[in-house]
């Protein structure tokens, strides 16, 4: 044991003199520096967004080497129209994917989270750890047989397959979100009281727990909606441009040999719009999902 390294110096016998106050100038300099840096980083982070918006309102021929960073000489929605023609059908399909995924996974997560937060059976921690591991695996490790299995199960290719897959692999994160929520927010007494009153587990879950679960649902729904919307890996393995979600269509639009950057960027904005709207209006709950993703409650 060493006592020298991390110990604070013992308080002196005589009361320490009050901390030297820094002069007003030092405070001003510090504050200016702080805000200066914050603003600088703000601009850097927003820079790609500026490029996206500005370029999307140029026409395909207006984006020569000169004036790439400047505002459009002629504002036009021509590239937006072009992008929408390419992405429109898949935009609709992605809603058909992300909404069911968000609802089904949250319901499964709520049921699992409730049981696992209240039921301390032997080996519960091991089971929970095994569940959680499922959200960290590289999905390539299941992809080769996954294709065969879903087609053997007779699930229609494209969106139905993707709904199924996102629901299955969304179970770990949703279970985690609800387990943490029930463990920290819903008082044990509430459940006990219901049991004393003779309500069974299912009854307790339905009439006592579900009504107070709204915040958990908001977090899980937003999380699953965003991940299904933004997913590219499952999409590229299990669907194609004709039956797949918008990320596939955008990649086809933008990935051509000599891409039309104006249309690609309008397409990138169209692709990002739903998740950005969710983020701007429901940001607090979006961050709740992010935090759950690091496992610590």
């Amino acid at each position: 044991m060493t006592t020298t390294t991390t110990r604070r110096t013992p308080p002196p016998a005589v009361a320490a003199p009050p901390r030297k106050r820094r002069g007003p100038t030092a405070g001003v300099v510090g504050r200016t520096l702080r805000y200066g840096l914050l603003l600088l980083f703000l601009l850097i982070v927003l820079m790609p967004a500026y490029v996206l918006v500005v370029t999307s309102f140029k026409s395909g021929s207006d984006i020569g080497v000169n004036g790439q960073w400047s505002l459009p000489e002629q504002w036009t929605t021509e590239s937006w129209a072009k992008a929408w023609t390419a992405l429109g059908p898949s935009f609709v399909r992605t809603f058909q994917l992300a909404i069911p995924v968000a609802l089904i996974s949250s319901l499964l997560g709520a049921a699992n989270g409730f049981v696992l937060s209240r039921w301390r059976f032997p080996g519960a921690d091991i089971v929970f750890t095994l569940i959680l591991f499922g959200m960290f695996i590289p999905y390539q490790a299941v992809m080769v047989p996954l294709r065969d299995v879903v087609s053997t199960l007779g699930i229609a290719p494209g969106i139905p397959t993707l709904i199924f897959v996102h629901c299955v692999y969304g179970i770990p994160i949703c279970t985690l979100i609800f387990r943490n929520y029930y463990a920290t927010t819903v008082p044990v007494e509430m459940v006990e009281a219901a049991w004393v009153d003779g309500a069974g587990l299912l009854r307790t879950f339905r009439s006592i727990i579900l009504p107070v679960s709204i915040p958990g649902f908001v977090v899980a729904v937003i999380w699953q909606f965003t991940s299904a919307w933004n997913d590219y890996l499952f999409a590229i393995f299990l669907s194609n441009t004709r039956n797949g979600p918008i990320t596939i269509a955008l990649n086809a639009l933008a990935g051509a040999q000599s891409p039309d950057y104006a249309a690609s960027m309008a397409g990138a904005l169209i692709t990002s719009l739903p998740t950005l709207v969710v983020y701007v209006f429901l940001g607090r709950w979006f961050i709740g999902g992010l935090m759950a993703g690091s496992v610590k409650s």
């Binding site: 110096t9 320490a16 901390r19 702080r34 914050l38 980083f41 703000l42 982070v45 790609p48 490029v51 996206l52 370029t55 080497v65 790439q68 499964l108 699992n112 049981v115 696992l116 059976f121 929970f128 569940i131 959680l132 591991f133 960290f136 695996i137 590289p138 390539q140 490790a141 299941v142 992809m143 080769v144 047989p145 996954l146 299995v149 179970i171 770990p172 049991w195 069974g200 587990l201 965003t226 590219y232 590229i236 990320t247 933008a254 960027m265 990138a268 904005l269 990002s272 998740t275 950005l276 983020y279 940001g283 979006f286 961050i287 992010l290 993703g293 690091s294 496992v295 610590k296 409650s297």
Partner: protein, 298 residues
Amino acid sequence: MLTRVRRWGPGLLLISPSLLLLGVFVYGLIGWTIKVSMSDRHSAAESDGFVGLSNYVDLFTNDINGRFLHSLRNLLIFTVVFLLGTMLLGLLWAFLLERGVRAEGLFRTVYLFPMAVSFVASGVVWRWLMNSGQGDDAGGLNAIFGQLNLDFLQNSWWTDPEWGMVAMAVPAIWQLSGYVMALFLAGFRGIPAELREAAAVDGASTFQLYRRVLFPQLTPVALSALIIVGHMSMKMFDLIMSVSGAQWLTEVPAVYVWQTLLTSDYAKASAISVILLLLVALVIVPYLVQTMRTERRS
């Protein structure tokens, strides 16, 4: 006993579909992938001759142009830069924000917004920004550097054969730094106020306060951030596919799997996947076990 069954039987019923699905689709399919990785199924035709570990050995010793080792090298460079970048920026942003500044919400919202966007969408703009043309052909960031007379900053970005992966990490840092900031900010806010007050009473300077009191308190948060971002880095696929497309220069194992599947070499694709899974498990499993232990103790 009967009451226990009656009380928890429905619970088991409630979670068993999920457990069954995960058992089959996570662990069952991983097992299946391991089996294929030890077979000689190198084409679309079924053939399940058992070849032991030879597909793995081939990846390390007998791959054309050392392709697999090349993808591991790319992944290593990418991961180091990505981790350094997100940790430094995330900590700096949290440090700038933690004592409360005006419009904190605005800064936080903007710093974190790239997390809401898919790599496929941001890849479109980063591909344009990281245009490798220089001088008169300069585009994207190189063009801005030219206009600002910072020509020495112009570079070939991800097309550089040696260090291209450093550039590839730039968009990833842009996307994930806000997440690390959010983790650190939660960490800062979780430190009890008494610790700061005690340090102030002891006459600690601001520098000492951070160095000796606050940063040590953030070690667990830093570890979580490293592990979460680190494992994301190992799985990196979307970003590379949309910025450069699948190609030799920027190939990492996750992309190599995809390329190999296109040629129907299932055995080889499975072997790469299993190695990728092992790499991820190496950092994630100890983290999960440790987290569960501390949770049980508290």
